[in-house]
C-alpha cells in the first residue's frame, strides 16, 4: 500500500498513514527511512509535483490528485504519464485526473510540471493496493412512517450499475430521535451489487410511537469487493431525513388501542401542548420521560393481562385528560380436543376446547374458521353470546353429499397470532345417534313383543347397532344387542322374543352404528305386560294325611305357599280361586295326586344331622325301586301337626340333596323326612332330625337332691325341653365343692380349680348321680349344666349339707369322759394317800388378811405397766390368788376370764349388746365412767362388787386423774384408748380435739362423733353419767363388731357417723 514517489532521485515514502497495515518489521524500517527521507523531501518538495493520491468510487476509474510544486502558479500545465505497455500521457491544467482503473501490478506514473522556468518531473509507482475505494455517499430516496405500527420505512438506491463487478455492500443506517438527535439505533444491512441499480427497503419498528418525537434517519455504505485489493472505506453519511407528526390541538396518547402480548414492554407517549402532570396505567402511576416540547412518554415493562375492557393508560394534563386503552393478552392457543361427529349423518358437529384463555374479548377475541380440505367449504364460528362456558366451542358443518372422509382444519386467529388444528374423520364411523323417541311396545304373542321407535337421521346406507334393555321385576336386567339396517324414514321396528308370559317387563333402547362410536342416550322406559299363555306344567305339590287320618292336606307351591285341606269323606270340594288366577290348575292336580298313597315303615330309626352354613346335606343310598323321585319335606319339630314348612323334589337318580331355606334358623330343631316315590305311592325312607347350626342350651337342667347321707348325695335331674336345648344334647357337667351358700361361689368353673370336682356325664340317658366320699355335716355346692356341640348351657346350682356322722360323735364324747373318770379316780387315790404332803404344800397356814398388801402390791405392779397394752394385764392375775382368801370383798379369780383374748366382753353396762361375741382383750374404760357414779362409791350391793372388781383390774389405765397428768407430755406416739376423756363434758371436746391433733394414734371411732351423731338421743344431752351410754362399754376402744351390724334396735347404731365407721370396718370375711 505504500506509494512510492519515484524520480531519478531516490524515491521516498509519501504517506506514512498507510504504513499501518504493513508488517511490524516493515513499519519500523519504514519509520526510520521516513525520518531520513522527510527531511530530504522537504528540501525537494517544492520543486517537483508530490503527494499523489488515488481513490476510486466505482472501481472503474481512479481519481488521482497530487500537489503541484510550490513555485508553480495557477494554471500551470502538467503532464501526467502512465508508463505501461503503451505510454499514455495527459496534459492538463489541474492537479487531478481521472484515469481508467489500471491493471494489477505496479505502474509508473510520471508527472511533469511544465513551468515557465523549466520542468520538474516526479515519478510515482502506482498500484491498486494504493487505491482507496470510497463509495459515493448514498442518498435516501424516501423515508416514510407508518404511525399506526410505529414503523419507519427507508428506501434508497444502491447505484449498483456503477460497479462493474459483483460486490457485497454493507449499509449502515442510523436512527436519531428528538431534536437533539439522540442516536437510538445503529443497524447494518447487507446487500449485494449485481451491476444494476437497485432500490432497497429497510423497515424499523420504533419502541416509541413515531408521533411522539421527530425521528431522523441517515445511511452510509461500505463496498466489500473481494477482487479489489486496495483500501476500502465507508462512504460519508447521507443527509438525514426525518419523520415527524403534526400534533393536533387536543392532546393525544399513542399508541391507540394497541393489542400486545402479555409480558412485553411498551412505551406510551402523550403529545400535548400543555404540561402533563402525571401518567398512570390502570391505577399505577408511572414516571414521565420527557420528550421534545411538552411531550412525555412512559415505559411499561412486562405488562400483565388486561381486564375485559382493556387496561387504561391515562395522562393527566391541567384541565384535561387524555389516554388510551391497551389490550394485553395471548395469541390463540392451539384448539384442543378437536372432535367431529354427527348425530344424523346430515350435519357434522365439530367441537374443541380453545385452550388457554387469550385475555382478549369482544372484537379482539379469537375468531375460528373451520375449513374442510376436500370440498373447500368452510364455516366461521359465530359468537352468538358470551357464554358462561368458554371451555367448549362447537361448529356445525353441513355434510357434503356422497362424501364420507372429511379433512377439517380449524383456524384460530386473534390480533396477536394464529394457530390451527387438523382432524381427518370418516364420518360414518363417528355417529352419535340422537336419543330414540316414540318408543313403543306391541305384543306378538305371550313370549314376544315388537319394539318400535323413531331415530332421526340418514342412516340408509349403514347398519345400526341397538341395545335393548329388558328388565323384569325382581330380576337382573338383560341386555340384547341387535343390528338393524338403517332406513330413510327413521322408523325402526324389531321383535323381541324369549320373554315370559304374563310378566311385566320394562324395555328401553339405545342405538349406535355398527362401526361403534358412541351409544345414544337411553330412550324412555316402557313398561309392558306380556300376554298370558297356557301353563306348561302344574305347580309343585305335596299332600299328606292329617294326624287324625280324617283329612287329606294338599300343599302346592305357586307364587306363595298354599295349604288346602280336603275332607276325606268328600270326593270334591269348592273354593273360590277367582282372585287367584295362578291356581286354576289345582283340580287337575288332584287327579294326579290322589292315586298315590304313603307307605310308612314303622321300624324307621330317627337319625341326627347337623347342617353346614345355611343348609343341611342329606344323603341316602340309591334305591332302584324308587322310580319317580324323592321328596324331602321338613318342618319345625316344635310345631304341632300337621307340620310342614316346605318340601323339595329330587330326581330319582340322586343320592343327596342340600336343603336350604331362608326359613332355617340356627338352634331350631327341624324334622326332615325323605320319601321315595314308587308307582304305588310315596314311602317314608328316612326320618332325620337336625339343626342348621347347633347352639348352646339356654336353660340349665332342673335337678333335685334325692337322698343325702353323711358321705354321699344322690342327685336327680330332668330333661331339657327341645326348644331350649337348641342342639343335640351331648352330656352334662356336674361340679361340686365344699362351700356355704353365702361364701362359696363357683365363679370360674372353667378354670379348673383343684377344689372343684367335676363329673362329665356323657350318657344323656342317665338322670341321676350319686356323689360319694363326702364329709359329714358339710355344706356342698352343687352345679349342673348341660352342653351341646354349640356350647355350654347355663348352670344351676344348689347347696346341700351332708348328714352328721353319729357314731363318731358318740365315740368322741365317750373317750374323753372315760379318760376324765380314770384320771379323777387315779387322782383321788393319789390325793388320799398323799393328803398330808398336799396339805403342807398347798394349804400352809393362812396369814392374817389384815396384813395383806396384796391390793397395793397389785396396784403398783399394774401402775408399772401402765404404758403397756391392756393385753398385758394378765400378769396381774396371779396376785388375785391371794385375794381368794377374802372372797367377801373381791370376786373370784375366774373373773380374769374377762380379759382373756377369747373372752367375751361383760354385758353389765348395756343390755343393748347381746351379741358381743367377738374377741376383745380387755374391758373398756367406759367402765371407768361408772366409777364417778355415786352409786359406785357406796361399795354396797353385789353389782357394785363387780364394778369394783373391774375397776381394780383396770385402775392403772383407767384412772382419769393419772391420765391427765400424762396427757400434756404425751402428745405423740401411741395413745391408748384410755386417753380419751370420755368422762369429760361436751364442752371439753373442743379442747380434746387439740390434743387429738397432736396424737399419733387415734381411736378408730371418733369420740366426738359419737357424742354428736346422736344428738337426738335423750341421753346424749343428759348428765355425765349418761355419756357413758352413747356406746357400748366395749365400743370405745374396740375396733369392730362391738355393736352388731344388724342390731338396728341399738340406738348407738343409728348414728350416721357410727354407721360410716361400721361400714368400713365391718367387712365380710375380715
Amino acid at each position: 500500500m505504500d506509494i512510492y514517489l519515484c524520480s531519478k532521485r531516490p524515491s521516498w515514502l509519501v504517506d506514512n498513514r498507510r504504513m499501518r497495515t504493513t508488517s511490524d518489521f516493515q513499519w519500523l524500517l519504514s519509520a526510520f527511512v521516513l525520518l531520513y527521507l522527510m527531511n530530504h523531501v522537504n528540501s525537494q518538495r517544492k520543486e517537483t509535483p508530490y503527494d499523489l493520491k488515488c481513490t476510486t468510487n466505482n472501481l472503474q476509474t481512479w481519481d488521482c490528485s497530487w500537489k503541484a510544486p510550490s513555485e508553480a502558479g495557477h494554471g500551470t500545465l502538467s503532464e501526467f504519464c502512465i508508463d505501461n505497455r503503451s505510454r499514455s500521457c495527459y496534459q492538463l491544467a489541474r492537479t487531478n485526473i481521472e484515469i481508467p482503473a489500471l491493471s494489477r501490478g505496479d505502474h509508473e506514473i510520471t508527472i511533469r510540471s511544465l513551468q515557465d522556468a523549466g520542468s520538474s518531473t516526479s515519478k510515482f509507482i502506482l498500484n491498486e493496493k494504493n487505491i482507496s475505494l470510497i463509495p459515493d455517499t448514498p442518498e435516501i430516496l424516501n423515508l416514510s412512517a407508518d404511525f399506526s405500527t410505529s414503523t419507519l420505512h427507508v428506501k434508497w438506491n444502491d447505484k449498483g450499475s456503477v460497479y462493474p463487478r459483483h460486490s457485497n455492500v454493507i449499509w449502515e443506517i442510523k436512527i436519531l430521535r428528538k431534536k437533539s438527535m439522540e442516536l437510538v439505533k445503529l443497524v447494518t444491512h447487507n446487500t449485494t451489487l449485481n451491476g444494476k441499480d437497485a432500490v432497497h427497503h429497510w423497515s424499523w419498528v420504533s419502541d416509541l410511537p413515531l408521533e411522539c418525537a421527530t425521528h431522523y434517519v441517515g445511511i452510509r455504505c461500505y463496498v466489500d469487493n473481494l477482487l479489489f485489493s486496495g483500501h476500502k472505506e465507508w462512504s460519508d453519511w447521507s443527509p438525514v431525513k426525518n419523520v415527524s407528526w403534526t400534533p393536533a390541538s387536543q392532546p393525544k396518547v399513542f399508541p391507540q388501542d394497541k393489542v400486545i402480548l402479555v409480558g412485553s414492554d411498551i412505551t406510551f407517549c402523550c403529545v400535548s401542548q400543555e404540561k402533563v402532570l402525571s401518567a398512570q396505567i390502570g391505577s399505577t402511576y408511572c414516571p414521565l420521560i420527557h420528550l421534545d416540547g411538552e411531550n412525555v412518554a412512559i415505559k411499561i415493562r412486562n405488562i400483565s393481562v388486561s381486564d375485559s375492557s382493556g387496561t387504561n393508560v391515562v395522562f393527566m394534563i391541567e384541565d384535561n385528560v387524555c389516554g388510551t386503552v391497551v389490550f394485553a393478552g395471548y395469541p390463540p392457543d392451539t384448539p384442543q380436543k378437536l372432535n367431529c361427529e354427527t348425530h344424523d349423518l346430515k350435519e357434522i358437529i365439530c367441537s374443541w376446547n380453545p385452550g388457554r384463555p387469550t385475555g382478549l374479548v369482544g372484537p379482539r377475541n379469537t375468531s375460528y374458521t373451520l375449513f374442510e380440505g376436500f370440498s373447500g367449504k368452510y364455516v366461521r364460528f359465530k359468537r352468538v353470546e358470551v357464554s358462561t362456558n368458554e371451555s367448549y366451542h362447537q361448529l356445525l358443518f353441513q355434510m357434503v353429499p356422497n362424501q364420507e372422509i372429511y379433512n377439517f382444519t380449524l383456524y384460530a386467529r386473534n390480533p396477536l397470532g394464529r394457530s390451527q388444528s387438523t382432524i381427518l374423520v370418516n364420518i360414518t364411523e363417528k355417529v352419535y345417534p340422537h336419543t330414540p323417541t316414540s318408543f313403543k311396545v306391541k305384543d306378538i304373542n305371550s313370549t314376544a313383543v315388537i319394539l318400535s321407535w323413531h331415530l332421526p337421521g340418514s342412516f340408509a346406507k349403514i347398519n345400526l347397532l341397538c341395545q335393548i334393555e329388558i328388565k323384569k321385576i325382581n330380576s337382573v336386567q338383560e341386555l340384547r344387542n341387535v343390528t338393524i339396517k338403517g332406513v330413510e324414514n327413521s322408523s325402526y321396528r324389531i321383535a323381541v322374543g324369549k320373554l315370559n308370559p304374563y310378566t311385566v317387563y320394562t324395555f328401553r333402547i339405545r342405538c349406535s352404528t355398527e362401526t361403534f362410536w358412541k351409544w345414544s342416550k337411553w330412550s324412555n322406559k316402557k313398561q309392558h305386560l306380556t300376554t298370558e299363555a297356557i301353563p306348561s306344567k302344574g305347580p309343585d305339590t305335596w299332600r299328606e294325611w292329617s294326624s287324625d287320618g280324617k283329612n287329606l292336606i294338599i300343599y302346592w307351591k305357586s307364587s306363595a305357599f298354599r295349604q288346602l285341606t280336603k275332607p276325606q269323606n268328600k270326593s270334591s270340594f269348592r273354593e273360590d280361586f277367582s282372585r287367584q288366577p295362578q291356581l286354576r290348575l289345582i283340580l287337575w292336580l288332584f287327579n294326579h295326586i290322589e292315586p298315590k298313597s304313603c307307605y310308612v315303615q314303622n321300624d324307621l330309626q330317627t337319625e341326627q344331622a347337623v347342617g353346614m352354613g345355611k343348609g343341611i346335606l342329606l344323603t341316602w343310598h340309591h334305591d332302584p325301586n324308587m322310580t319317580c323321585d324323592y321328596v324331602i319335606k321338613w318342618c319345625n319339630s316344635s310345631r304341632s301337626e300337621p307340620c310342614l314348612m316346605d318340601w323339595r323334589k329330587v330326581p330319582s337318580n340322586s343320592t343327596e340333596a342340600l336343603i336350604q331355606s331362608d326359613q332355617f334358623r340356627p338352634g331350631v330343631r327341624y324334622n326332615f323326612f325323605l320319601y321315595g316315590c314308587r308307582n304305588q305311592g310315596y314311602q317314608l325312607l328316612r326320618s332325620i332330625i337336625g339343626y342348621i347350626e347347633e347352639l348352646a342350651p339356654i336353660v340349665a337342667p332342673n335337678f333335685t337332691v334325692e337322698d343325702t347321707s353323711a358321705d354321699s348325695i344322690l342327685v336327680k335331674w330332668e330333661d331339657i325341653p327341645v326348644e331350649e336345648l337348641r342342639g343335640f344334647l351331648r352330656g352334662y357337667l356336674f361340679y361340686f365343692e365344699k362351700g356355704e351358700r353365702d361364701t362359696s361361689k363357683m365363679r370360674d368353673l372353667e378354670s379348673g380349680r383343684s377344689d372343684i370336682k367335676v363329673k362329665n356325664i356323657t350318657d344323656i340317658s342317665q338322670k341321676t348321680l350319686r356323689i360319694a366320699d363326702l364329709q359329714g355335716k358339710t355344706s356342698y355346692h352343687l352345679v349342673l349344666r348341660a352342653y351341646t356341640d354349640g356350647g355350654m348351657g347355663p348352670e344351676k346350682s344348689m347347696f346341700v349339707v351332708t348328714k352328721e356322722n353319729s357314731v363318731g360323735l358318740i365315740i368322741a364324747i365317750l373317750i374323753p369322759v372315760a379318760v376324765a373318770v380314770i384320771v379323777g379316780v387315779v387322782t383321788s387315790i393319789l390325793c388320799y394317800r398323799k393328803r398330808e404332803w398336799i396339805k403342807e404344800t398347798f394349804y400352809p397356814d393362812i396369814p392374817n388378811p389384815e396384813n395383806c398388801k396384796a391390793l397395793q402390791f397389785q396396784k403398783s405392779v399394774c401402775e408399772g405397766s401402765g404404758a403397756l397394752k391392756t393385753l398385758e394385764m394378765n400378769p396381774c392375775t396371779p396376785n388375785n390368788v391371794e385375794v381368794l382368801e377374802t372372797r367377801s370383798t373381791f370376786p373370784k379369780i375366774e373373773d380374769t376370764e374377762i380379759i382373756s383374748p377369747v373372752a367375751e366382753c361383760p354385758e353389765d353396762s348395756s343390755d343393748a349388746e347381746p351379741e358381743n361375741h367377738v374377741v376383745v382383750s380387755y374391758c373398756p374404760p367406759i367402765i371407768e365412767e361408772e366409777i364417778p357414779n355415786p352409786a359406785g362409791d357406796e361399795a354396797g350391793g353385789t353389782s357394785q362388787v363387780i364394778y369394783i372388781d373391774v375397776q381394780s383390774m383396770y385402775q392403772p389405765q383407767a384412772k382419769p386423774e393419772e391420765e391427765h397428768e400424762k396427757d400434756p407430755g404425751g402428745g405423740a406416739g401411741y395413745k391408748p384408748q384410755m386417753h380419751l376423756p370420755i368422762n369429760a363434758t361436751v364442752e371439753d371436746i373442743a379442747a380434746e380435739d387439740d390434743l387429738d391433733k397432736t396424737a399419733g394414734y387415734r381411736p378408730q371411732a371418733n369420740v366426738n362423733t359419737w357424742n354428736l351423731v346422736s344428738p337426738d338421743s335423750p341421753r346424749s344431752t343428759d348428765s355425765n353419767s349418761e355419756i357413758v351410754s352413747f356406746g357400748s362399754p366395749c365400743s370405745i376402744n374396740s375396733r369392730q363388731f362391738l355393736i352388731p351390724p344388724k342390731d338396728e334396735d341399738s340406738p348407738q347404731s343409728n348414728g350416721g357417723g357410727w354407721s360410716f365407721t361400721n361400714f368400713f370396718q365391718n367387712k365380710p370375711n375380715d
Binding site: D257, S283, S308
Partner: protein, 224 residues
C-alpha cells in the same frame, strides 16, 4: 248536659262531613283523576331509576377499569357533545314552562336510551348486558310515563327531525379510550338527568296538586 251537647255537635259535624264526602274530587273514583297520579308515578319511577342506576354505574365503572371507577376521577367532557346536557342555569330552569320542561325530559331520555342500547351491544360480559338491558327497560318505562303525563296535560310529543336520530356508531376514529369516556359521561348525564327529572316532576306534582286538598281543608275549617 255539656257533654251531651258536645256529642250532638260532633255527630252533626260527622254527618256534614259524610254529606260532603261524595263531593271531594279525590275520592270520586268515577271522575277523571287528572294528571296527578301519573305525575306521581313518573316521579316514583324516576327515583327508582336513580337507585337502579347507582347499582348499574358501580358495575359498569368497574368494568371500565381504573381510573374510571376511582371516586375522584373527574375528566373533562371529551367527545361526548352529542349527549343531552342536563345541567342548566337555575334561572333558565325556573323560567321553563311545563311543556318545555317535559319536552326536554322526553327528548333527553330518548337520546340517552338510544345511547344506552348502544352501550349494551358493546358490553363484553353477559352480566353487564343483563344489567344494561334491565335498566333500558326501566328507562323505556320512564319514557312512556313522561309521554303519558304529556298526553294527560295535552302536550304533543316532540317529533325527532329526520336524520337527527342519535345513533351509536363505534367508528374507527373513536378510540376505545374516548368510548370509555363517552360511557362514563353517559352514566354521569343519566344520573344528572334523573336528578333533574325528579326535581321537575316534584315541582310539577306540586303545581298540579288537585283542589281536593283545598276542599278537605275547607271541610276541616267548616267542621271545627
Amino acid at each position: 248536659m255539656d257533654m251531651s251537647w258536645d256529642s250532638w255537635g260532633m255527630l252533626a259535624c260527622l254527618c256534614t262531613v259524610l254529606w260532603h264526602l261524595p263531593a271531594v274530587p279525590a275520592l270520586n273514583r268515577t271522575g277523571d283523576p287528572g294528571p296527578g297520579p301519573s305525575i306521581q308515578k313518573t316521579y316514583d319511577l324516576t327515583r327508582y331509576l336513580e337507585h337502579q342506576l347507582r347499582s348499574l354505574a358501580g358495575t359498569y365503572l368497574n368494568y371500565l377499569g381504573p381510573p374510571f371507577n376511582e371516586p375522584d376521577f373527574n375528566p373533562p367532557r371529551l367527545g361526548a357533545d352529542t349527549l343531552p346536557r342536563a345541567t342548566v342555569n337555575l334561572e333558565v330552569w325556573r323560567s321553563l314552562n311545563d311543556k318545555l320542561r317535559l319536552t326536554q325530559n322526553y327528548e333527553a331520555y330518548s337520546h340517552l336510551l338510544c345511547y344506552l342500547r348502544g352501550l349494551n351491544r358493546q358490553a363484553a360480559t353477559a352480566e353487564l348486558r343483563r344489567s344494561l338491558a334491565h335498566f333500558c327497560t326501566s328507562l323505556q318505562g320512564l319514557l312512556g310515563s313522561i309521554a303519558g303525563v304529556m298526553a294527560t296535560l295535552g302536550y304533543p310529543l316532540p317529533q325527532p327531525l329526520p336524520g337527527t336520530e342519535p345513533t351509536w356508531t363505534p367508528g374507527p376514529a373513536h378510540s376505545d379510550f374516548l368510548q370509555k369516556m363517552d360511557d362514563f359521561w353517559l352514566l354521569k348525564e343519566l344520573q344528572t338527568w334523573l336528578w333533574r327529572s325528579a326535581k321537575d316532576f316534584n315541582r310539577l306534582k306540586k303545581k298540579m296538586q288537585p283542589p281536593a286538598a283545598a276542599v278537605t281543608l275547607h271541610l276541616e275549617a267548616h267542621g271545627f
